[in-house]
Structure formats: C-alpha cells, structure tokens
Amino acid sequence: MRKENHSWLQELVCRFDQNLKKQSKLRQDSLFKQEISSLAQLLANVDKDVLKVLYYYSLSEKDRFFEDLKQIVSLVSAGKERLIFSDPAFFHIYKTANRVRREIHRYKGFLRFKEVKGGYLYAAFEPEFNVIIPLARHFANRFRNEKIILHDRKRGLAVFCHKGHMIQAEIIKPIPQETEEETFFSNLWKKYFETLAIKERENLTGQKRNVPLKYRKFMVEFEP
C-alpha cells in the first residue's frame, strides 16, 4: 500500500521548459530572461546591480513590472543610466526589490524541511513574493544529494531538486507521511530550541521583529 508513495513523485509534472507558457505563475522568471535577450543590446551594458534589482522586482509580481521595465530601458537608452538610483521611478522599484531580497534571505534560514516517506525532504511555505526559484537554486546547491521539494502553497507551485537539478513540479497527491526519524529529530530540535533561551535576557519584541509571525506557521520550533 505504501508503494504508491514512491510513485507520487513520478506524477509530479516535470516540464519546466515546455510548460512555462501555460504555467503563467512561474512566468516572470523566464519571461524576464526572454525580455533580457530581446533587449540584449540595451541591457548588455546595464550595470549588474541594476539588473539584479530588476530581477528581484520581477519576482514581486507587481502589475506594473513591464511598464516599469520599459521606463528603465528608456532611461538607459537615453544614456541616463548613471542617474537611475536618484530617479524617483526607480526608487520604488528598488524598495520593492529590497523587500523581495529580504524575504529570500529570511527563507534561506527559516524554511523547514520535513523528511517524508520515500526519502524526500519536503518544505511548505507561503511567501509574500514569488521567490520559489531563487530559493530552490539555493537549496538545490546546498543539499545536492537530497531529493527536495519546495512547495509554495499560496501559489500552488512546487519545485523538485536533486543532484543540482531543478524541475518544476505539480503536487497532485497528498504529501506522504513523515518518517519516524522526522518525528524524533523535529522534537529534538524543538526541545533544543527551548533550552537555548537565556531568561535573564528575554526580549520577545526582538524575537517578533526578527521572526515575523507569518514565517512561524511552518517552523517546528514555533508550533504550539
């Protein structure tokens, strides 16, 4: 009976390339790349920092992304790239991009993987921005030999990573049960976490500022 758990992965749809156009939600990451290639001549000379900002901004899924991109491109083609950082239009892009970047950075620490039957490490989360790809890149690299699944439950997106590869996936069956070791180690971690607190220094506001509540939902140590 348990066998079907092994096949649920085969049913994950692995069409990162072909499916992009249909899977509109994952679009911006690659669309952005396409835009880049069609605007290659212009953007080739754009400062890397600016490109990075635009990349993060694209993950914010703001409706105005393409308009904003065009505006930046027109600034660049007018030779005003150096003034970008003092341009008011760019400033709001920059601010949003920073929020995306912060969310990515936080999830690199706060994402929690659960070992489920079949030998997979599964992480669910509900990010504000569409950050699953940069995160998958980070974890695919870090946990090279593991079979990991990142699952953005807010957008219904999933990415499977193994041996450095990233594949877009679809979760169509219930996630398998956690293993016995999982129960053991998540409890061990929870208890370890509790002993760490130094009561003479208690600072719950600091804790709340650093781990906002929206992240805690998926972090074992904050489970009641």
């Binding site: 400033f91 620490g109 946990f143 061990l188 002993t195 208690e202 506001t205």
Partner: protein, 413 residues
C-alpha cells in the same frame, strides 16, 4: 536507515539538553565569514552577516548547533556553569552521535552548521582530539560541507591545534577576562600568556594554510570572547585589548558577553541584572574600530575610561569634537564622511558614487540611507547647512537629553 539514536530517544534528548545548557552562554555563534562555491551564499552587503535560522526568546540569532562534547571538566573557572565544583549531572555525546544529530539538523535546514566546545576531560589534547573526530565523521561520512566552529582548548598540543584548524571553518580560544590578574583570580588554571601564545600560533597557522587548496583551514579566521562585568576592568582596558587582537593577531571578531551570574562564587561580583547596555556600547565601539577607522584613544581616555551609556560612542565622539564639523557632503573623503553620526560605510560609499554624477539633495541623501535626523547637525551640502536651526547650542540640547532607555538590543549588526 533507522538511526540507533531514535531507539534511545529520551536519553539522547536528556544528554543534548545538558550539553546545550552548558554551551549556550558562549555568544560567538555567527556563521559568517566563509563563502564556499557550493554554498552559493547570499551576495551583496548581506554576505558577511551569515544566515539566521531562528531567534530565541531573548532575541538572539540562532545559526549553529551550539553544544558541548561533554559538560564534565577538571577546571574550576568561577564564571562557568561546567566548573568542577558545581554539582549537576555530567554527560557526553559520542563523536558519532554528535555528528549524526548535526547532519540531521542541517538537512532539515534548522542550522547553518556546528559550534562545538567542551569541558576538559583527561587532558585538553584528548578532548580536542575527540572534538576533531566529530568533525571528521561529519565531513567524511556525511559529506557535510557546512560551517564548523571549533573551540580550541588551552593546553592542547600544537599538532592537535593544527589538525583542528585543518578541519574547521573557524576556531576560537576564549580569553574571557581582559587582564592576567582577573584571569588568575577567576580562572586559576588558565593564564593570559599561554592564551595569547595560542592565539598567536593560530593566527600564524591560518596564514600559512591560506593558499593550501586541501582542507578547510579555518578560512573564517579566529575569534574570541570577553566577559563584561565579572571583573573590574574599564572599557578602555577591554577595547585596548580588542584593538590589539585585531591588529596584531588579525582576529575576525571579539565577542563581548554581559556577565550573567550562573554560579554562587565568592570570587564574583554580586550583580542582579547583566550589563546589557554596556555590552551593546562595546559592540558599537568595536564596530567603529574595525570599520570606521577609529582608534581606542579617540573614544576613551584614562580620564573617562568608560563608554557613555546614554548615547552611542560615535555621537559621543562627535560632541567632543565639534570643531571637526560641519563636513561637506559634496567634498568630504570617505573617512571624513564616516565620522558623521548617521552615516555608515554603505551610505558613505553611495555618496561617493553618486556625487560624481549628480548633486545631492536632502531627499537623495535619505534614499542613500543617511539618517538625516542625526546627520543634519553635522553636515553641509555645497556649503549650505541643511537645517538653519541646527546651531551648536540647539545641537547640545538635543543631544544631552538622555535617550530613552533601550528596550531592544542589537547583538548582531
């Protein structure tokens, strides 16, 4: 594989709890300073901050599994929970057990790596070897490439210390107290000269291995920790020592830990609350020394050997040196800009960058990250004061109003 640990459930938990309790007062938990290719760490200005995996209820960043190999110790340092004369249960985790727990925590993304310390059993050398065994198991058997910080035990042989450096990303020897006198009094088995000679040896070896492609070679450098408030030394003495550690031995970090009375011991002062604000000011001053080009003499003198609690050391310096101001944003050099309260390394660099192309306004300074509220008293833009009211007398009334008591402490900036 069903780990043998799972069968001994309760027992493993009890041991880990004791060993975590014994290690938690060591504050040097940063996982920063090392970037390996396969780790693809965060780019840009956050790289040196490392990754926090959670925060404790006292607001500290948890990045590493911080634990002792054993909480048994044949020494009797007054300030330490693990000292010989304390009566509480003693235990250990074997290198294999420790490595396995670390590996399992790491692959669930609970931690960035391991911070391993220990009480001393049999001999320092024997204990350090066991610690290194743990690291070898992790690296070889579990293919663990994450971050490892090893505590070097005073008294270990040179060969064992070198081996520790080869396998760890960072090593540290805790000085704990800033003068030989206090050390003799509170940690009778340790002595300052020996500790400094180990620090010197480590710094030499790290340099030697720098170009060596094999091994981990403590590329994250070495750090140390000083306890603040367990002995009578002034901030001047503490920071002078830190400055020397940074300059002479190229330490990456000196950590300051507000003394928390964990033991009843007649050698220790009676304090009710840990000196957290003092600790915070020391970190700020330390930051000024490392990244702002300040020297200790500029911040403190024998006449006023302690940092002020009411406001930060940079503002305090600026107020004593009003003749230095105002600084003009369009003309000042990098280090001149850094002296302005409200301007840090990042905003100073941005100012240099952008003023080449465009004239800066109050608005653009804000966007570049300058804290106008503080900076406006100390700067001009093209010779013009930002706030005409910002005269010196006004400045002083602003500044000498004691700042509200801090409720939040930034431990890792």
């Amino acid at each position: 594989m069903m780990g043998p640990l799972v069968k001994k459930k309760k027992e493993v938990w009890e041991r880990l709890e004791l060993l975590a309790q014994g290690a938690k007062f060591d504050v040097s938990c940063a996982s920063s300073g090392v970037t390996r290719n396969n780790k693809a760490s965060f780019l840009g200005n956050a790289s040196r901050f490392g990754i926090c995996h959670t925060f404790t209820s006292d607001g500290r960043c948890i990045s590493l599994l911080k634990v002792l190999l054993t909480n048994q110790c044949h020494n009797d340092c007054a300030y330490c929970v693990n000292k010989r004369s304390n009566h509480h249960p003693r235990t250990f985790l074997s290198p294999e057990e420790l490595a396995y727990v670390t590996y399992q925590f790491y692959r669930r993304n609970y931690i960035e790596g391991l911070f391993l310390s220990s009480g001393i059993i049999r001999s320092a050398d024997y204990t350090l070897e066991k610690m290194i065994d743990t690291v070898k198991i992790l690296r070889r058997k579990y293919g663990f490439d994450g971050y490892i910080h090893l505590k070097i035990l005073p008294g270990a042989s040179e060969a064992t210390i070198v081996e520790a450096i080869r396998w760890a990303d960072r090593v540290s020897v805790n000085l704990e107290l800033p003068t030989p006198q206090s050390l003799v009094k509170l940690a009778p088995e340790k002595n300052m000269k020996e500790l400094l000679s180990i620090i010197e040896l480590i710094s030499k070896k790290i340099d030697e291995f720098r170009e060596n492609p094999s091994g981990y070679n403590a590329k994250g450098g070495q750090s140390t920790q000083l306890i603040v408030g367990a002995s009578p030394e002034s901030d001047l003495i503490i920071l002078t020592l830190s400055q020397q550690l940074y300059k002479k031995y190229k330490l990456k970090r000196v950590y300051y830990s507000a003394y928390i009375p964990v033991n009843q011991d007649s050698r220790l002062p009676a304090v009710s609350t840990p000196p957290l604000i003092r600790e915070h000011r020391l970190y700020q001053a330390d930051w000024l020394i490392r990244f702002y080009g300040f020297t200790v003499d500029e911040l403190l003198s024998p006449d006023s050997p302690n940092l002020e609690e009411g406001y930060d050391p940079k503002l305090a310096w600026a107020l004593r040196n009003l003749h230095y101001f105002p600084v003009d944003i369009m003309k000042a050099s990098y280090y001149e800009l850094l002296r302005v309260p409200g301007i840090g390394p990042i905003s100073a660099k941005r100012i240099l960058n952008y003023r080449k192309h465009t004239s800066l306004s109050l608005e653009s300074l804000k966007k570049l990250g300058v804290v106008i509220k503080r900076a406006k008293y100390f700067i001009t833009i093209n010779g013009k004061m930002i706030d005409q009211k910002a005269k010196v007398d006004f400045l002083q009334s602003f500044v000498f109003k004691p700042q509200p008591k801090m409720t939040q402490l930034e431990l890792f900036f």
